[in-house]
Symmetry: C2
Subunit: 98 residues, 2 copies
DNA sequence: GTTGTAGGCAAGCGTTCACTTGCCTGTCAA
DNA sequence: TTGACAGGCAAGTGAACGCTTGCCTACAAC
């Protein structure tokens, strides 16, 4: 089996999924960048600490990798863990209308 | 956006993921069949009511469809909702070792 | 050094969630 | 009709989770 509970836990929260959307749109953002853009584009009023905790969960799931540079910490998305999902439950190709 | 929170909520629980594994292995099982086989193969000691509630969540997420026949209710897996995940965050092809 | 910025750590709070318990409905066989 | 079987409904409980609050560390500009 050897499944990864952290992966599904990370995907379980709507704010974390929005963060993945944000990093898909613009990869390598800092914490404050993400906070600002989430408030702008998605109307999310999440605090900095909340986003920070979300990023920690995403990093533990392997969906986000970080890169430190001075006092900045850049966050990069990595979608490869998602492959385990479609490998576990194969998706039927193009289902025709019933 | 139009994401489906129910899908990720359904995938968020380990027992529900095991149920999906079980239905992948043998599709169209009844509630009692699933209970029995989960106890046998996976050592899960979940009660009937617990499994029933899990199946309701999976059905609401569109991952499981049901078919009534007399006093039996057969459960069928449908992995097509999973497609929205890989469409939302495209997966890189075959990452080489760093 | 002092100030401002980027981020981290940890305790507390309220909600959500999985599971149990108990009882009820519907179907089939004897 | 009676009893066994397959499943459903709803309230209650304990744990996990998301978020806040408050304080602290590290780096950079003045």
């Amino acid at each position: 089996m050897a499944e990864d509970p952290d992966l599904f836990k990370a995907l379980g929260d709507a704010t974390r999924r929005t963060i993945l959307d944000e990093l898909t749109d613009r990869d390598g953002q800092t914490l404050f960048e993400i906070c600002g853009r989430l408030a702008m584009k998605h109307g999310l009023a999440s605090s900095r600490q909340a986003i920070s905790q979300h990023l920690a969960v995403l990093e533990q799931a392997g969906l986000v990798h970080t890169r430190r540079q001075g006092r900045y910490k850049f966050h990069h998305i990595d979608t490869s863990p998602l492959r385990s999902i479609v490998e576990r439950w194969p998706i039927d190709r193009e289902e025709p209308d019933p």
